[in-house]
């Protein structure tokens, strides 16, 4: 069974329609890359999967999204519980203005983990999975804001991993990072997919071709093409996909 099943999804911000009848399945333990030019609805799609769009007063959606067969917009579904299962890393690294340690245990503490030894364990494990442990293990109590941009983004990834989610959404996580930091994040993602389902929105077409198992191409709110990354990058079915990945527009 697919991890996420998206059926005929339309989303609106006020009068603007962001997504037009998007239907796709997200397979578990794979990286789904989402590419497309700015304004194509990539981020809107991502934020619908953890119901972060709910925070916007004029957001509206139609269609169905199933997580493990469960409708995530069902009235009985608690957005808070959903977001613990579907973690998110934002485009700009946003460490909360507290220590590295507190940033990571923010989520676990919300679920009621109080025991210090257990929290310490979570912190070490998450930081290691995000390839950040060696760089910060001696200063866990210093502020997350003092880290470099690349380290901050890996801290944000570690913070999501600490939730022990099932799905990780990443919204252009490397857009503000240098190539080395980008490589570290990509390395972390390819390791992580064995345990998680990863959905990676990226402006960088090459990044999708490097790490994604499957790739979806969005254009002006429509899902133009979706399939195995190798196939989509070598023999795209749609001319628009071809134009985009060869850099003729976007």
């Amino acid at each position: 069974m697919p991890k996420f099943t998206v059926q005929k999804l339309n989303t609106f911000y006020g009068k603007n329609q962001a997504l037009k009848s998007v239907t796709l399945d997200v397979e578990a333990n794979q990286i789904l890359g989402i590419i497309g030019p700015a304004g194509s609805g990539k981020t809107s799609f991502l934020r619908t999967l953890n119901r972060l769009n709910d925070l916007l007063p004029d957001f509206r959606m139609e269609g169905r999204i199933l997580l493990d067969g469960e409708d995530i917009y069902h009235p009985k579904m608690e957005p808070v519980m959903l977001r613990r299962r579907v973690g998110m890393v934002f485009a700009l690294p946003v460490p909360l203005p507290m220590s590295i340690y507190d940033n990571i245990v923010y989520g676990p503490r919300l679920t009621g983990v109080r025991q210090t030894s257990r929290l310490d364990e979570i912190v070490e494990k998450s930081l290691q999975s995000a390839f950040l442990w060696d760089e910060v293990k001696d200063r866990l109590n210093s502020s997350g804001l003092r880290l470099s941009g690349g380290q901050q983004q890996r801290l944000c990834l570690a913070r999501v991993l600490a939730l022990d989610p099932e799905v990780i959404l990443l919204d252009e996580p490397c857009s503000g990072l240098d190539p080395i930091s980008t490589a570290k994040i990509e390395e972390a993602l390819t390791v992580l997919k064995s345990a998680f389902t990863v959905i990676l929105v990226t402006n960088n077409t090459m990044q999708a071709s490097r790490v994604a198992d499957r790739t979806a191409f969005f254009l002006m709110g429509e899902l133009v093409e979706y399939g195995w990354t190798d196939k989509l990058f070598t023999h795209p079915d749609d001319d628009r996909t071809n134009s985009y990945i060869t850099g003729r527009f976007g």
């Binding site: 972060l52 925070l55 946003v94 909360l96 203005p97 923010y106 919300l110 502020s143 804001l145 939730l163």
Partner: protein
């Protein structure tokens, strides 16, 4: 003929500098004048002994106590109400006609002269609720007086917290209450404290609203149901009735120094707090 830029720049800088200089000198003159007149009578004895003969002799101990208690009561009442209101308006409601009316009301209240609050406090707390002239009536009245400013400063402080922090908190599975408590309020704290300090400063110096509600008894208050005289009321009475000019200036000097001290302490605490978090 055009004035050369360097010359016009010079004129602007001197005008702005002069304005600053005039403002600062007036401020320093007032403070210096009062301290010069008042400090000679101020000493530990003045601060910690009871007044005698209506304040002609002796110290001002009861008024010091009242000046600490009254703002304290006011702040204890106003902070939960004000911060609660501000959080509700910013985090729990969406902009609508109702929130705009509430905000407009708060702005109007902030502009009402304090003596009107005094009159209201006298009629409502002192007379109708039969609290009499007491620290409690005065504290409640002052709380009402500082509430609008507190709500507005807190609101602005909360609005200044980057939305990204809220999104991160929600995306990590936090509820709204958690997000407000762990992320929004700590980041808004410097602004909230500024609002509280403004309120404390206003209450310490307030005379009109206090004289109607806390009364002007010179005895040392033994409970919040006792009438008491604050330093500012004491100063007003000493000067107005011509009881003792020296002691009036002495009281004024203590008042000014305590307001300065409150601000300095608040400023220091704030800086420490900000440094700890970043």
């Amino acid at each position: 003929m055009r004035i050369p830029p360097r010359f016009s720049q010079g004129i602007v800088v001197s005008i702005l500098g002069l304005a600053t200089l005039v403002t600062l000198s007036i401020l320093i003159f007032i403070i210096g004048f009062i301290l010069e007149k008042g400090l000679p009578v101020v000493g530990l004895g003045f601060l910690f002994t009871l007044p005698q003969d209506m304040g002609r002799a002796g110290g001002i101990f009861p008024t010091v106590v009242a000046s600490i208690l009254l703002p304290l009561i006011a702040v204890c009442i106003a902070v939960p109400l004000g911060v609660g209101t501000a959080v509700y308006l910013t985090e729990y409601t969406r902009e609508s006609a109702v929130t705009r009316i509430i905000r407009f009301g708060a702005d109007c209240l902030a502009g009402i002269p304090s003596i009107i609050f005094g009159l209201f406090g006298f009629i409502f707390f002192v007379t109708i609720l039969r609290m009499g002239w007491s620290l409690l009536s005065g504290g409640l009245t002052l709380a009402l007086m500082i509430l609008p400013t507190l709500i507005r400063t807190t609101e602005e402080a909360i609005k200044a917290v980057p939305n990204a922090y809220r999104e991160v908190s929600y995306s990590l599975g936090a509820t709204r209450l958690r997000t407000v408590w762990r992320v929004v309020l700590p980041n808004a704290l410097p602004g909230i404290v500024t609002g509280v300090m403004l309120g404390v400063g206003r209450s310490v110096g307030e005379t009109a609203a206090v004289i109607f509600t806390a009364g002007s008894s010179l005895r040392l208050p033994s409970s919040i149901f006792d009438s008491a005289r604050t330093m500012s009321v004491h100063f007003y009475i000493l000067a107005r009735e011509g009881i003792s000019t020296e002691n009036a200036y002495g009281t004024a000097a203590v008042l000014i120094l305590s307001v300065l001290a409150i601000n300095a302490v608040a400023y220091g605490l704030m800086n420490r707090f900000i440094r700890r978090r970043s």
